[in-house]
Amino acid sequence: MTRISGKYLAKRIVVSYLTLLVIMSLLFVLLRSMPGSFITSMISSGMTAEQIARIRETWGLNEPLWRQYLNFMINYQTGNFGRSPTYNTQVWDLMIRRMPRTLVLFGSTFIIGFIVGPLVGMYLGWWRGSRKDKSIFSTSLLLYSMPSFWISWLFIWVFNYELDLLPSAYMFTQFPEFQWTAFTVMRDVLYHIALPIMSLTFIGWVGSMLIMRPTMNQVTDEGYVFLARAKGLSERTVMVKHAARNALIPVATGAVVSLAFLIDGSVIVENVFNWPGMGQIIVSSVLNRDFPVAQATFFMLAVLVVVMRLLTDVIYTYLDPRIKFGEGE
């Protein structure tokens, strides 16, 4: 069970935590160096200097920058994300409300992409150079080159505007004629999430395919593949059971890279489809200089990426018994 040493794991966790701290500091500096501040919108021309000072006081802007920084770092350790000036709620509540919605969109895309991508990559890599490989590969590269907002528009155009099959925005029907029960809510959400997921996966699966294809091609020359063939196993069994399993290892590491790609995609797609998730507020909070919300969304996404990296490292050792961590590279 324990192929991974406890010491190594502990070290990795500490490093991940430190990475997060540095990311937060970097965020603080970057967001504060943007021109403008979130209280600009609260100040109207008729206010006296005293009123403005009081607003600055309320939001803690009168304190020196290093104190603001310390407050920020300490508050985040205790899960205190502060209040949002534009949404006028606790940031934590906002996160709790929005995070699941993004995770639903994100998770389903991730799973579909990581089933379709490696499968296609497996076939293409196995028959690399064949006619089928060439045509499917070039088509998928074309898909990969599409701007995600544009393909979303095309989907909306076809499935919403022309065929009127699927809704093009929001998460729920705005003025429903049906009763809200668990079943209808589920159905309604599924109905609304269909187009965003289609748009995201349409492009997103290619990433893992691109990793799978060359590694699959490499393992075709390995000794154990010859051995499996020599044993008289069918081509299919050799491909799926012997070759593909080994080729999956780099795909697992590549998952983090695709995760970053997916985050970008979902930021855009959430904006196109008015999906009320994190991607929507991360853009608007940056543009509105809503620092508490921007910090929190960046922080949550950073946690997601850092935790995923840690997880893939652990999964890695189970996929490939040759790798032993904690003994250098």
């Binding site: 990475t19 943007m34 080159s145 701007p147 528009w153 060359p214 790609f261 990426v305 590279e329």
Partner: protein, 320 residues
């Protein structure tokens, strides 16, 4: 790793003797490259876009200031109410005016805008791709060469940190800090996209530095800098070229996404801005001649970079 070692001109022979094998190799590489149809297609697309960006006037039927019904500036008359209502106008060939891809809501010809915008995408793609390679490749080389030392550790932790910042939102912050100009968008993309180059080059370098020729160079007394740049770098250049192409494609798409979010230099012509205009003016579903061409152009530009990159990878892949 693909190119053979031993031709680095250490003997200092005549120029001819030094260059002949390289030209020979280039020829062989070109022959292998042209075996890949997608590589050739990518190259053709890229050549067309390059021509568009260098001499747009030859291809475009009008200038970007041309307005339907009225014509080229200087503009003397104004559009009638009925003419304004007919905009955006579907493709027209001579009657009432010549605009093969129709016009946008302001009456500018879509085809002309499309052709004049190629320069912007080309510039951003190549500049951002080159910049991120210039950052990523040297860092990857250094990190790999000094693998398992504090230098490697420091660079890798820095990469980890950068990975934790989501690309597009981070790009928005960077662009917001420095102001929305094309140059700043390029810098922003470069700052955020060198990570993959760095990691891949590091991996290659880690395996390359164990090769015997590096050992012998070390024994011969070559300095670290010389080994890195003279002996290892030529072997990672093919793979970094692949990443340059991918970064260029990513940059083109990223710029369009920024434009979609309203972060673009709206004084310039770009495909992303054309798409942002159709959204903000509300014609997405009414003007296919305006919606499709910029998206297709973006797709083809990015795809041509990918096509070239992956064909290059095949050419340089020794296992074949």
């Amino acid at each position: 790793m693909a190119t053979q070692q031993g031709d680095s001109g250490t003997d200092g022979g005549s120029v001819r003797r030094r260059w002949e094998p390289r030209i020979e190799r280039l020829k062989r590489g070109w022959d292998r490259y042209t075996e890949h149809r997608i590589g050739v297609v990518g190259l053709v697309i890229l050549v067309v876009f390059t021509l568009w960006s260098i001499i747009p006037g030859v291809f475009a039927p009008h200038s970007t200031e041309w307005i339907a019904y009225i014509g080229e500036p200087p503009i003397e008359s104004r559009l009638t109410a009925e003419q304004v209502r007919s905009l955006p106008h579907p493709p027209a060939f001579g009657d009432p005016f010549f605009a093969p891809l129709g016009t946008n809501a302001n009456g500018n010809g879509i085809l002309s805008l499309l052709i004049y915008s190629a320069k912007n995408a080309m510039y951003i793609g190549l500049a951002a791709g080159l910049l991120s390679s210039l950052v990523g490749v040297p860092l990857g080389l250094i990190s790999g060469f000094y693998g398992d030392t504090w230098i490697d550790e420091a660079i890798q932790r820095f990469v980890d940190i950068m990975y934790g910042l989501p690309f597009l939102p981070f790009l928005i912050v960077l662009v917001a800090i420095r102001g929305i100009t094309t140059t700043n968008i390029i810098i922003g993309i470069a700052v955020t996209s060198w990570l993959n180059n760095c990691i891949t080059v590091r991996g290659e370098t880690l395996s390359l530095k164990e090769r015997s020729y590096v050992e012998s160079a070390k024994v011969a007394g070559a300095s670290d800098t010389r080994i890195i740049f003279r002996h290892i770098m030529p072997n990672v250049l093919p793979i970094s070229f692949v990443f340059l192409a991918q970064d260029a494609a990513g940059a083109v798409i990223a710029q369009a996404s920024l434009a979609y979010l309203g972060l673009a230099d709206f004084t310039a012509n770009s495909w992303g801005i054309m798409l942002e205009n159709i959204k903000s003016q509300g014609y997405i579903f009414d003007a296919w001649w305006w919606l499709l061409p910029p998206g297709l152009a973006l797709m083809l530009m990015a795809a041509s970079f990918y096509f070239i990159g992956f064909s290059m990878e095949d050419v340089t892949n020794p296992q074949r």
